[in-house]
Amino acid sequence: MTMQLKIGFLPLVDACLPILAHEHGFAEEEGLDLTFVRDVSWATVLDRLLYGHSDAAHMLAPLAIATTLGRGRPAQKLAAPFVLGLNGNAVTVSNDLAKAIGADGTLGDPAEIGERLKDVAAKASASGRKLRFGVVHRYSSHNYMLRYWLSACGIRPDEDLEIVTIAPPFSADAIAAGEVDGSCVGEPWNSIAVEQGAGQIVLATAQIWRRGVEKVLALREDRLEENKTAIAALIRAMCKAGAHFVDPEQWDCNAEILSRPEYCDAPIELVRRAISDRLVLRAGDPPQEYRDFMFQYREIANFPWVSQAEWLYSQLVRWDGLEYSAQDAEAAARVFRPDIYRAALQATDEPLPSASSKVEGSVSSPLTASAQRGSITMENNTFFDHEPFDPDHLQDYIATQK
């Protein structure tokens, strides 16, 4: 019997796994008939999910948690049984700012860039026009990663510079028009800004947190319970799509599919840059490889680690100015559903870890993780400031970050 699922998404390269699962027939093999609803704002993707226009959605991980906790709208429980990928975002700044912080056409050291940015931000602030950065959403990893980086470099977001929301399709224009001095956005929108000569890519978010959680597949919790069989099938299909996605032989064909008007609607070459971890940082320069730019599939990248949800909660508390609450922390942690991931892949060859939570940012050389099945080697998972996050000490972590 064919099961039907409608999936909401925004035109971004990291919506790739459900799309490729459909286009390469992996979904069909699992008895699934996928259809897609494309939108241009996260508010709309979320509305469609909450009010039943879609069964599941490509969603900012922090937004799934914020929705569950009732931030910005009435609380509705969401569930995320699958991480659609790690990182894949970058910081692009205007040519003027790139010059001011001494960007040399490479992905520099985040701490060094931050130090120079601190001086420029202080001068701008003193002259009465604070620097302004754009992020895609208040509840986005873009916002959290950017703020994490800035504050670890001694720049106080909202005080020393401003952070505003800009929809991804407008980020290049906003930089070109001087509305913002920089933005943190997913691909292909950084590359589009570079191609237009609006700005330069100076940092990949993977440099801030090497294995930072990005989008998730989100569902309403009650719909997940009703559709468990179909979601398990979707998880298996997306895993197959993930293995296909990281195969260099398939880069051209996957870039072609994702660039189509019904998906990202962007030039193939620009989509291919993100897929192959090879970005052009300045217009006219040759592409440069940053191996972990957009991390997929390897090292069970799609496993929804509860500790990732807890880190996101720590940042939500930090930047929304909330008090830590054990009840909220638990509700946030429960959004990530490793149980559903495990059940879906139980009868396959996909490796499964024995734990569902880990200390984030503590791996700096290859480490073999204990596995329920298969073998899992973690290569590199650090924050740029070398501060690990131990979910057992969530409250302390939040306290030290104030």
């Binding site: 241009v40 709309t44 009010y51 226009h53 929809a167």
Partner: protein, 193 residues
């Protein structure tokens, strides 16, 4: 009551505006450009904002409301935080609604219904226009296919059309599809114009 309509499609915005002006006691402000959206909203200080679901500035507006609320202004997003049915209905119609400053639900319902009807009316208009455009393109293709048959086979126009129709009937396809195939083949064989 102050109403802001945010819609990048000027014709649609004017259709909504027209519907709402018939209601009493409404001051309407229409914004069709995304530039300086927040500043304009702040200046208008609307009681209610209608915007189309496909507007990429929705996230920007929600952020603005969230921050304003954090600054202790009484802002209710959507019709009423518990009124799921109204929200779902407005999403079905393609309109998202933001109620600012906690306007009474009873005053909003007629506005919301009117706006939804107007959105749907516009969607119908658009569908009809798209269909009419398709028909026009199809007719051009059929004309070109007829011309190709007339040139290649030396037949009259009615005969060329008969051939097209017969092929369509025997292969259970539309005349426009057969015409399209002929035009494409003609171009690919290198003897197109």
């Amino acid at each position: 009551m102050r109403i802001a309509i945010i819609d990048e499609s000027a014709p649609r915005a004017s259709i909504i505006e027209e519907g709402l002006t018939s209601l009493e006691d409404c001051e309407i402000f229409t914004l069709t450009s995304r530039n300086g959206l927040l500043a304009k909203i702040a200046e208008i200080a609307p009681d209610i904002v209608f915007m189309d679901l496909g507007n990429p500035s929705r996230d920007v507006l929600e952020e603005y409301f969230a921050v304003s609320r954090a600054l202790d202004h009484p802002i209710a997003m959507f019709v009423d935080e518990s009124d799921d049915d109204s929200i779902a209905a407005s999403i079905d119609a393609g309109v998202s609604t933001y109620v600012v400053d906690g306007l009474a639900a009873k005053r909003i319902q007629p506005l919301l219904k009117m706006t939804m009807r107007r959105f749907q009316a516009f969607a119908r208009l658009e569908a009809e226009l798209a269909e009419a455009k398709d028909k026009l393109v199809e007719r051009e293709t059929v004309d070109r296919a007829k011309r190709i048959l007339m040139d290649r086979k030396g037949v009259s126009e009615p005969a060329a059309y008969r051939e097209l129709r017969q092929k369509a009937m025997s292969s259970n396809r539309r005349i426009a599809d057969i015409a399209e195939a002929i035009v494409t083949a003609h171009e690919m064989m290198g003897d197109g114009q």
